[in-house]
């Protein structure tokens, strides 16, 4: 496709969950699979907005007159999420985080931030609106095809999770409702799918660099706005895999071209991306009529002194460069730089243990063990890594024993206890043991002797040392 002649203009809207508490209640932002403690059934009604008009998007949803059922879990839900209590003031950590992101995106920051209510009547917010505020404007990021403008950076609440629906009702779980989301909107300055992909990946990288964003499925959501010559703007919601962007953009361009060729109006609608990269009409594009002030909360005054003293995190891209210089290969550098454990890695580096050993232990050995033992959700604690590498650095355990130590730890033993079995033995003791093995198996070839010795020593000695002794004894 020749995107230039088509006149493709694309913009991105990226939503990223923050790994802090909920935005306007002091609840944990953890999702759950448990059975609900309570269920609440509600209706929503259309309301007139600030301008006296009922928003088209809003009235479209209420016209369905559905029952909304909300699953309440006491572990992550309060009366604020059930719309039974006014909101508390904004989560400090989330606010500080969005200031950080604004600075990383070269944005101007709003001096007085007013929290707004954005009318949402598909039931995904118990209140009938989403709390949202504009924090940064007028920023940019550098890409291989030049600067891409960042129009706005917004802090808002995530909506409730849709878990099921039938003809008359939709069921939502309130665990996700209120989790802080950053919404980043770019100008429609991308003109081909590769550029959209690059921009999305760069913004994603910047967000992950803060170390305080959620990871995993559903924690980042991308919407793409697309227009071509002769048509209006269409919003494609829910691009899960940025790798699929080429297919999605192409199929939308084809659809818009078809519509335009039949003299139909294109634009002003929101469409949902389906698994096959095509899309389905979702609702009309919302207007600004759906926005009015959140009267239960005071205006947030930006403290510019505090804001400028926030220490900016190292970008993942910079971090990766640093790791390459340490001698890690491309793949490992990228993996560990992107990993949530990069801070753990950095700290262990201070022990001067070989960086590749640290990286592979944290990234691969841990995975292998979990695969072998069929464990999914459990994670090695950071402290375990610090303690284990500190033992290694102080020659309290041997390098070859790491995998066995990790396996026994996973099974529930304490590191203190496990480490007793992997104390390196002194050189003279090692000499004695190896001599004994060689003497009693004098007819075996060298390889077998090494094998016997290693299994007898059970990881307490370095393989190279054993080989060297055997080499000399069998000369």
């Amino acid at each position: 496709m020749n995107y230039g002649t088509i006149g493709l203009k694309a913009g991105l809207e990226i939503h990223q969950q923050l790994d802090t508490g909920k935005l306007f209640s002091r609840c944990d932002s953890k999702l759950t699979k448990d059975i609900a403690d309570t269920k609440i059934k509600r209706k929503l009604r259309a309301t007139t907005g600030e301008s006296g008009k009922i928003d088209i998007a809003a009235s479209f949803e209420t016209s369905k007159n559905l029952d909304y059922i909300y699953e309440v879990h006491n572990s992550n839900t309060s009366l604020i999420e059930t719309d039974e209590e006014p909101p508390l003031e904004v989560d400090e950590e989330a606010l500080s985080l969005i200031y950080t992101v604004c600075r990383l995106l070269n944005c101007k920051i709003i001096p007085f931030i007013q929290i707004m209510r954005k009318t949402v009547v598909d039931g995904s917010n118990t209140s009938g609106f989403q709390r949202t505020c504009l924090v940064g404007t007028d920023g940019y990021i550098e890409t291989s095809k030049g600067k891409v403008s960042i129009e706005s950076v917004i802090l808002e609440e995530d909506s409730a999770r849709r878990v099921s629906e039938d003809k008359n009702s939709v069921t939502y779980r309130l665990d996700r409702l209120g989790i802080p989301l950053i919404e980043i909107t770019t100008a429609p300055e991308m003109h081909d799918p590769d550029h959209i992909k690059e921009t999305a990946q760069k913004i994603g990288m910047i967000l992950r660099s803060t170390g305080k964003v959620k990871r995993g499925i559903g924690t980042i959501r991308q919407d793409v706005n697309i227009s071509i010559s002769g048509g209006g703007r269409v919003e494609l919601k829910g691009v899960q895999e940025i790798k699929e962007i080429q297919k999605i953009v192409d199929s939308e361009i084809e659809r818009q071209q078809d519509e335009l060729s039949m003299n139909r109006k294109v634009g002003g609608e929101v469409r949902n991306v389906k698994a096959d990269a095509t899309s389905k009409f979702l609702r009309p594009m919302p207007t600004s009529a759906r926005m009015y002030p959140e009267t239960d909360l005071p205006i947030i005054q930006t403290n510019f002194n505090k804001l400028n003293s926030i220490k900016l995190p190292e970008l993942i891209s910079t971090r990766k460069e640093r790791y390459l210089k340490l001698g890690l290969n491309e793949e490992l550098s990228s993996m560990i730089a992107n990993s949530a454990r990069s801070n753990v890695f950095d700290k262990i580096l201070e022990t001067e243990i070989n960086p590749t050993l640290i990286a592979t232990t944290i990234l691969s050995t841990s995975k292998e063990i979990k695969r072998k033992l069929k464990i999914n959700s459990w994670k090695f604690p950071d402290k375990f890594y610090f303690d284990m590498f500190s033992l290694l650095a102080n020659s309290k355990i041997t390098k070859d024993s790491l995998s066995e130590i990790m396996e026994r730890f996973t099974k529930g033993e304490t590191l203190d206890n496990i480490s007793k079995s992997y104390k390196p033995i002194s050189d003279s003791e090692l000499q004695k043991i190896v001599e004994k093995i060689v003497k009693s198996n004098s007819k075996l070839p060298k390889g077998a002797l090494i094998g016997n010795a290693m299994s007898e020593l059970a990881g307490r000695a370095d393989g190279k040392k054993v080989a060297k002794i055997i080499e000399e004894l069998t000369k």
């Binding site: 059934k41 009604r45 309301t47 007085f112 931030i113 954005k118 009547v121 209140s127 009267t295």
Partner: protein, 418 residues
């Protein structure tokens, strides 16, 4: 001078913001509605405002065409203010009482299918501003409406904070009540999709056309939008600051459960609708006090009430105060002809003067124990009784006589924490 309402461009430290200038509650800040709908504030100091033109921000009132459907019953809706009749002032962001109650009908179109509703607004105040003079005014208004033959019942909208006081006041003031009176409020404002007052009003209107000739509060029965409960005006209290189902029956069960589709499940005995005229007895005495006793409380407070006509003491447990310090000053007040009644700060249950010597001492010295009456109801009732008579013996008699379901001799076994 004011550029409020104009389309402007504000320059602030190299940034430009374009939008409509709103009225700001903070003198040091320009409040701006940007084209994307977000409001932002910019310090006045350092900002340069350039006017681009006049903005179109006029609130278009819903011109509501009320056509009467002769096959439907007529209900009178009396708006007094509160959350249920509030709207957001988009200029200041503050919540204000609705000045045009017809707006309310525009928001809840279902009402027009149940009845013909005539709306009047004798006042528009927050419920914490209500006082006995307002009760009188509302009572007079309700009676005038209900005494019209064509009106089936009345719905009073009210702020929730003191809704139960007004409910009790109307119950006493409307003697010989012949038709239903629903008192309805909302805990969420009408600007939101989750406005609870919508269903409360619908159920309130269903109540108003029922055969229950009593004053009742009609609000959510649960946190869900499934049904409302109608609670007798003298036996109800706001037990939660913010939940939809905050109004609970005390020492009784609801008169009825009312579903938005009109289904009415009756749970309690009630007065039946009739056609006799209502007598309004709407005089309330204002020199009446409600005092909550707490451990260590000095009786000095009683000195403030020496020129009062009556006091309700919300005592501890079965109805106690520290007799060591309180008996003498209380006896002094009673001897001056001031009525002293005792209720309990344990919302549920009945006071009893005979279980402990404290109670016996108090009752022997003339403190009147008010059975299972709610403190708030006792306060309203005393104010009303003293508005009807100054004869202290009559007052003492009326206060322990059940007049409007406020006092029962039998404790309902399933009423606790209903």
């Amino acid at each position: 001078m004011s550029n409020v309402g104009n389309k402007v461009k504000v320059k602030y430290f190299g940034s430009e913001y374009e939008g409509i200038l709103l009225e700001s509650s903070d003198k040091n800040m320009h409040l701006l509605k940007l084209t994307n709908g977000y409001n932002v504030g910019l310090p006045r100091k350092g900002s340069k405002v350039e006017v681009l033109g006049k903005a179109n921000l006029g609130l278009k009132a819903n011109t509501l065409l009320i056509t009467k459907n002769k096959s439907l019953p007529n209900v009178s809706l009396i708006s007094t203010g509160g959350t249920i009749a509030s709207h957001v002032d988009y200029k200041t962001g503050a919540v204000h009482p609705m000045t045009k109650p017809a707006d309310l009908l525009g928001k809840i179109p279902e009402l027009k299918k149940i009845s013909n509703i005539s709306v009047s607004a004798p006042m528009s105040i927050f419920s914490e501003e209500m006082n006995p003079e307002h009760w009188s005014k509302i009572a007079g208004f309700v009676a005038r409406e209900l005494n019209k033959d064509e009106i089936r019942g009345a719905v009073v909208t009210h702020g929730t904070d003191t809704l139960h006081y007004t409910a009790a006041a109307l119950t006493f003031a409307l003697e010989g009540l012949s038709k239903p009176v629903a008192i309805v409020g909302g805990q969420r404002s009408s600007d939101r999709g989750s406005f609870d007052g919508g269903m409360n009003l619908i159920c309130g209107v269903h109540y108003a056309i029922s055969d229950i000739a009593e004053v009742a509060t009609v609000l959510h029965g649960t946190s869900s939008d499934d049904y409302c409960i109608a609670n007798r005006g003298t036996k109800v209290k706001k037990l939660h600051t913010s939940k939809r189902d905050a109004f609970r029956p005390i020492n009784t069960v609801p008169l009825a459960k009312i579903y938005p589709n009109g289904k009415l499940e009756k749970h309690n005995g009630y007065e039946l609708r009739h056609s006799r005229k209502i007598k309004v007895k709407s005089k309330f005495e204002s020199k009446v006090a409600l005092i909550k006793y707490y451990p260590g409380m000095s009786p000095d407070i009683l000195k403030c009430y020496e020129d009062y006509k009556g006091i309700i003491i919300e005592g501890t447990g079965l109805g106690h105060v520290a007799t060591t310090t309180w008996l003498e000053p209380l006896t002094k007040l009673i001897k001056k002809g001031i009525f002293v009644g005792m209720t309990s700060q344990a919302d549920y249950g009945r006071v009893d003067p005979y279980v402990y010597s404290t109670g016996r001492a108090l009752t022997n010295h003339g403190v009147v124990y008010l059975e299972d009456m709610l403190s708030e109801t006792a306060y309203v009732k005393l104010s009303w009784v003293l508005g009807q008579t100054n004869n202290i013996e009559k007052v003492r008699h009326l206060m322990v006589t059940n007049l409007r379901g406020e006092l029962s001799t039998k404790s309902h076994p399933n009423a606790f924490l209903y």
